[in-house]
Point group: C2
């Protein structure tokens, strides 16, 4: 290892130790102190708006000079309304019910032992993300709300923005008397820092949350030496059952695909029941095209919609994040579920159906984190679930699935109260 590597390793190791110490304090801090900290962060973000925007302007200028893709520059860019939205987001999380200490269950045993399952923080959470600087504020708020120390490693392209936001976060923590190391931002663009975090910082990291593109998530899942809460792509389906109401089918398909094409809850594939595809597909396809969407279909879909392009095998497993949708005609709920099991990413899938039995059958068969009946896939969002904010939509099967808010960033322990019991 060269000198720079050794220095980075020392620096990251110190960060891990500081986070662990802060976590021990934060875990025992009163809910009111954590609330005060998040409220103070919101005030500091507002007070620092000019500094945050100036830092962001430097990031944007550098990104443009480096010819970053315009979509990426747009995700990076902040303006006054986006900074205000960040402050409001912090206030929303400050107002959330505190998850810690809640008794999730409590029961007595015949021998008189009183067993309580009590919600506790996870400990130290490392979040590795890209682009959007708003994640820095959301992640800080959710981690403090849930009593976890956070190590945040955002994209290199928004380091100045993240550091400016972090300055506000640090003032909020100080105002509430909480340790600065409750929320730390990795202040280097050296990609080796990511490798060190994935190594777990000598056991200091309890959970790694990757939030970003496929290659980031794949690297994390390959290299991580600590548990990972995965946020994979959303290859989401809207299935129009033969019993679907046409107006709902049109509204939901267009909204699921086109409301925002770049979010992970956007639909990428439209499945249409062969039982009534003639009635459903042509008008839905027309509405999607009208909204500016390109359609790529299988043979049966193309036979019903003149001029539709051909979908390749690759299309069924592509997260376009663009105004393109793949279209397949399938045979009933079983056919739709089989297509989703073969090609989906277990993120979010929806059925449009008036036949309630068919809708419930779909909900049972499709084993995705979120299954919707007669609603748009774009509701896959923590705020829409009532969680206030989220750190992403988990697609792994362990610990938490779907939107990951403050409650999902907790674990539990058992407190067993006895009167001197010994085991026979």
């Amino acid at each position: 290892m060269d000198d720079a590597g050794a220095s980075l390793q020392a620096q990251m190791g110190a960060m891990g130790r500081a986070a662990r110490t802060a976590a021990a304090t934060l875990r025992l801090a009163e809910a009111a102190a954590r609330t005060r900290a998040i409220e103070a962060m919101a005030r500091a973000v507002r007070a620092d708006a000019a500094a945050i925007l100036a830092a962001n302007a430097r990031d944007v200028a550098e990104a443009e000079a480096a010819s970053l893709a315009p979509a990426m520059v747009d995700r990076l860019r902040l303006d006054a309304p986006r900074v205000e939205a960040m402050a409001l987001g912090l206030e929303t999380v400050a107002a959330l019910p505190d998850p810690l200490g809640a008794e999730m269950a409590r029961w007595d045993r015949p021998n008189g032992l009183d067993i309580a399952r009590v919600r506790t923080p996870i400990g130290v959470i490392a979040i590795i993300y890209e682009s959007r600087p708003g994640v820095t504020a959301d992640a800080a708020a959710l981690c403090v709300r849930s009593g976890n120390a956070a190590i945040l490693r955002g994209g290199s392209e928004c380091l100045a923005s993240n550091l400016a936001i972090h300055a506000a976060i640090a003032r909020g923590l100080a105002e509430a008397g909480l340790p600065a190391a409750c929320v730390q931002v990795v202040a280097t663009t050296d990609r080796a820092a990511v490798g060190l975090i994935l190594g777990g910082l000598d056991g200091a990291v309890d959970l790694i949350i990757p939030r970003g593109g496929k290659s980031l998530v794949a690297r994390v899942q390959q290299e991580a030496r600590a548990p990972v809460l995965g946020h994979l792509e959303g290859i989401n389906h809207v299935f129009l059952h033969g019993s679907a109401d046409l107006a709902k089918a049109i509204a939901i398909a267009v909204n699921a695909k086109m409301r925002r094409v770049s979010v992970c809850g956007a639909a990428e594939t439209l499945l249409v029941d062969s039982a009534d595809a003639q009635r459903l597909l042509p008008p839905v396809a027309a509405a999607l095209r009208e909204a500016g969407c390109e359609l790529r279909g299988d043979a049966r879909a193309r036979s019903l919609v003149p001029g539709m392009g051909e979908a390749s095998d690759e299309d069924w497993r592509t997260e376009y994040l663009a105004p393109i949708i793949s279209v397949a005609v399938v045979d009933g709920v079983e056919g739709a579920a089989a297509h989703i099991a073969a090609h989906g990413s277990a993120h979010t899938d929806a059925i449009v159906a008036e036949d309630q039995a068919a809708a419930e059958r779909f909900a049972a068969l499709v084993d995705s984190a979120i299954v919707l009946i007669n609603a748009s896939t774009q509701f896959a969002d923590g705020a829409e679930f009532g969680f206030g904010a989220e750190i992403g939509i988990a697609t792994d099967r362990l610990h938490a699935r779907g939107p990951v808010g403050a409650e999902q960033l907790t674990t539990y322990k058992y407190v067993v109260r006895g009167t001197g019991q010994t085991r026979p």
Copy 2:
């Protein structure tokens, strides 16, 4: 890779695919069918008792010929009462409430969306364990109860026993019309099979549970390419607070250490409050010695108990699983919690105290999976918690902590019911 390696890889890959297919069926099977299967397994175990004992005798003979440690041979050995206990264990799990399909939470959103969090199976669970053949039956029962397909890889030294038990399990599954691949046993002693399971069998494995010694768990945590539910050692503490009742202190310390020294819930360290160590330690030490326990203490403990051996730094982090206990005098609840944080394994820790405020302070400060007040650490056991059976005590922080029973082997999904909602 040589031919044998390629053949093993093909065989394990096929096992993974079969498990995945079986999991899809099992997930949708009625609770009654899963109950019938486990009941039929119990009957088959009883009917096959002679064959299971004969297979076990071969394992024991080979283990003795190979000069395995007597404690290991004892763990491996079955007799008629142990086979009956296995059948009773299956019946207990068959009688457990079915965890699947339960609504863990349900709420409405202002836009009319009805959100339900519903309990579902994890999918395919690989369990890697050592010695005790009874784990084969417990694991099969818990996985079927929770709707998960199981891939079981027991110790090489009990392969014949495990295959004989598996024959009974397979008959139970067949009787209930469930696929044979719901429970598979790896039928080779080739250690490369473990490496392939840790590799995730091409994504077929959703969760790996290691159950065994430190070296097994360490290997799993190092190599696993799928989520792991860790079962680390139990370096468990009993803390005698200054307010402790002496009779309770003696009974709990002796029971926690000596009831069974080889279980993970056994105490390994006794902590005594300096506030009243003179009153508490000598009689508790005498009772432990009387029960056949060796004591190794720090300077303060040795000054109170003549003839006590000296504890090295290593003693504080040693899981003896033997009639030895380390003893330290600490300063109050804070001192005990600091010792536990520095040396414990976050498994199970107990306080003996009449001062309720001190006891509750200990329960808050000590961040272990199980914290007991005035009760023995040997209650760290799924059956004692009312879970029927367990696959072990989880010491990781994610997904599940403490005893892992059928409910802890589940995850959830969201079913969102709407009436045509689109997102503005």
